[in-house]
Amino acid sequence: MKKQIMFSLVGVLMMGLFACSNNTSSSSKSTSTPQISDDLSKPVSLRLNLAYGNRNQTLTYQYNTPLTMPDGVTVISQGQLKPMWSYVAKEINASFKDVTTQDQKASQMITTAAATGFKDADIYGGNSIADNLMNYGVQGKFVDLTELMAQGLMPDVKAFLDANPNIKSSITAYNGKIYHLPYIAEIGEFARDFHMRESWVKNLLDVSSANYDTDAFTTYYKGFWINDNARTGDNGGTVTPKEGVSITKKTNQNVITLMNDLSSKTGATLAECLKKYIKDNYDYSNPSELYLGAKAAYDIDELVALFRVIKANPKYLTSGKATVVWPYFTRQSSYREELLRFGTYFDGIRVHGSDTYSARWEIDKNGDIQYTYTPEKFYNMLNYLSDWNAEGLVFTDTFDSTNKNNFRNQLYFADNAENAKYGFMTFDFTASTTADAATESEVRDIVGVLPPVSRVNGVWQYYIDNSRVIKPDGWAISSNASQEAKVRAATLFNYFFTEKGAILQNYGLDEMLKSNEKFTGPDGKEVPAYNDWTLQTTKQVANGDLSSFLRNWIGALMPIGYQKEIGFEYQYTSQRGFDAWKLLQESTTNIPTYSGEGLKGDNPNYYTLIPPVFSLTQRQSETLANETTIDSDDKLFEVIFNIIRYKTLNNAPASVTLPKSYQEYYQVFKDAGIETYIATYQAAYKAMKAVK
């Protein structure tokens, strides 16, 4: 009996060892990944759930009025796939089924899809859900794209990521895998820039005897480049707006101090003060050149001085049509964070580490990420902006989140309206801000200008802390999709990284483009040129907004995984828009990038953009949810704007408590768990970097 048991045990052991050796051999086999190819002769059906919170931006055509395509025969009606998607479906021999709940927000879509096990579609995508795609990917809900690439699928995606390691690392989860392909804006390009009313600057500063306003003006702002920080000599005395052009400020005068010391502050005295200051300090032929054109060399105090002169001269500037004008505004109240970008010009305070307001991170000299809203310098900047607001330099509705109006339309594009309102400066996209007037009777003179010059990262330079980035938008393949759907979805993902697919997604269908003719952009690059049908139809159905037309009518430019080009935008830009681009491109203005190149200064990582998403482990997500309220407490960020609105004037509504000092300000964040929040994200960032 004992022998039998012994033999049995030995037998079992042998079988076990045999099994193990088999496993070993199979696992060693898996190190050379089997290659897969997609048999395009076989049709495959793909279900897509791409949510953007707006039915017009999904895969299917949603307008009541059908669109007749250039051939005059093809008509796209409501509910049909948009023409670009029909074309792509044919190209990859797939049939697309749009299973999107048409007006659903992407964040709601992803939660619903998660609750139903990501079974209702093969591909999920949307805006601002990249972190969800990555985190669910880590949980195994989305297909590992790195594995698909290793299997030989998506060769063009692989080539693109290999050529752009910064992009690759930005979308790689902490486990080293990629689960989504992002919408990549025109990396390395300027995003927004500053714009002004050209005629106002000239009329104020270049006219020798003007009929300035005489109403009294009250000042609060004390200036930034003052006392030991005075701009002179090595401290920004000479700056270079353009290669070969040097502008020197001759004295250590500060224009804000000069204005504050005036015994009578009116539109007239402030304007004369600024003109005299420019004459005493610079060698411009016209004083307006301090602000306009390629030789602009104004700092933040000189900008405030101009704002004051504008604010104090509403009747002169509007020929008596208005008694109030607004020197600075943002496009709408939901863009009020744009105001905080002035931080750059108060000694280079970084506010957003990427082109999204929630990216409140910067990278310090040790390579760790730091929260940008809590340092003392940020709090001080809020106080400066509060002084501006007290002087009426910022459009008051900017802070009012209940106001949903488009201020750019109101303050820039409606000068002929009854009770017109006027704004002077904004920070926005060039093409749309400098767009021509809808009617010829309306004369617009909005021009792009260089940013204020400042000490940024310890170096005097021209810098805009805003550039085109990898967006937190994109798409991913459900793990529940069938094998053939996964493979065909990979082919679809790859298609938009091929030359043909990229042109299609960036410019639209062949029939919308001029054959054998290219459009030359201000940067000298040749891009596909639109034919008359495209431009005319865009005018008819989308008020000339080519971007909307391509996205909402044609189905191109959707924020799926692809690399966006700027070429389409050039083709609906006015001459002033081109001038603005040229001005920036020919200047020495720097922007942040993923590679982080820039003028050597205090922090070698200053210019580096932060990743669009952070890959958090389940434990890290849990820590954030249970121990911090930084992301869930919108009251926290209202505090920032309350300081700007009420601190200087001390007029906060009853029951709204303002932090009286930096310590109190920091305590607000501390109570919300900022220290845990920072530590958690620092750990996540380190893990992501370690994977590189």
């Binding site: 949980q139 607004w326 949810a625 121990e627 309220t629 869930s632 209202e638 509504p653």
Partner: protein, 319 residues
């Protein structure tokens, strides 16, 4: 002597159903509705005790015991939670004090209008706002009280002119104005419609009572005091019990549409906090559910208490 055996209970019920099957058939849809929409979702309560992960589902998510409750009552969200808790009570109390009597007064006034045509017109006018959605109503309110560089609402202008609200102050963002704004909006929207039930109660009072009072020399005020109000008492008590039961269910949509981060201090109620922490900004559904359960348990206790007190004091109760 024949001994009569007691009929089994189940058999008795079955016989009853068989006998009155038409009535039970009518009842069936509402029973199904309750099962589907009131009882089945109760399984979701377990989310309050979990670190809920949508992709793992209700039964697959990690069980975390009372951690979500600890989070809201003594953890990172305690200030927001207890603030919302007290706001809920205060707003409800104000609603009860100011909102509850108005429909009763309206009903009494309607009952005193002699001309039927005029009464119908006034009733219809007061009922109308009830049929507008909260979004429309709050949209109108925000426009009326809005004060900005672009425009100023008529109510804001009047209040500025009368020096009740200082010039430049934004009513919608001022915590002290939230509760009056909320209560007044509620009264405007619902008083007329809520008066229907009281008006019906008044109509149910026997005219003989009024005639008897008149014979005894009673005047109009005495009619109201000694006949109308006592005649309405059972309805009033039932309505007040129901109202107390809903004390923690403050009009969620209206708060959500009228409040602002600056007014959370007086405006944030449990249901809006539940929505914010549970759903918005990548919220934590477990915490949201914990707030919901807390809300329901207190509401349940309040109904029981109100019913018991009413039964002992006025001999009138819901059960």
């Amino acid at each position: 002597m024949e001994i009569k055996m007691r009929e089994p209970k189940a058999k008795k019920i079955f016989k009853e159903i068989k006998k009155e099957w038409q009535l039970y058939l009518l009842l069936l849809p509402i029973v199904i509705w309750f099962l589907l929409f009131a009882y089945k979702p109760m399984t979701g309560l377990i989310v309050a005790f979990e670190r809920f992960e949508p992709s793992d589902g209700i039964f697959g998510s990690e069980f975390k015991g009372l951690s979500n409750f600890i989070n809201i009552t003594s953890g990172i969200n305690k200030t927001a939670f207890w603030g919302a808790f007290s706001n809920t009570f205060i707003i409800s109390l104000y609603g009860l004090l100011f909102g509850f009597p108005i429909p009763i007064i309206l009903a009494i006034l309607f009952s005193e209008i002699g001309s039927e045509g005029y009464r119908k017109i006034t009733q219809t006018i007061t009922y109308l706002p009830h049929f507008l959605s909260e979004v429309t109503i709050t949209g109108i309110v925000i426009t009326l009280v809005y004060s900005g560089a672009s425009s100023r609402g008529i109510v804001a202008q009047v209040l500025n002119t009368l020096n009740i609200v200082p010039e430049g102050v934004k009513i919608i963002e001022t915590p002290n104005y939230f509760r009056p704004m909320y209560i007044i909006t509620g009264i405007w929207k619902e008083s007329g419609y809520n008066s229907i039930v009281y008006f019906a109660a008044i109509m149910g009072i026997s005219p003989v009572m009024y005639e008897a009072l008149k014979v005894d020399g009673g005047n109009k005020w005495q009619e109201i005091r000694y006949v109308t109000i006592p005649g309405m008492a059972p309805t009033l008590i039932i309505m007040i019990i129901m109202r107390i039961g809903r004390m923690l269910s403050v009009g969620y949509e209206r708060v959500l549409l009228l409040y602002h981060p600056n007014t959370y201090v007086t405006a944030d109620v449990l249901s809006t906090l539940e929505q914010r922490l549970g759903i918005e900004n990548g919220g934590n559904p477990g915490i949201g559910s914990a707030i919901g359960i807390f809300n329901s348990v207190i509401g349940f206790a309040l109904v029981i208490s109100a019913n018991k007190i009413s039964r002992q004091v006025s001999k009138t109760s819901l059960w």
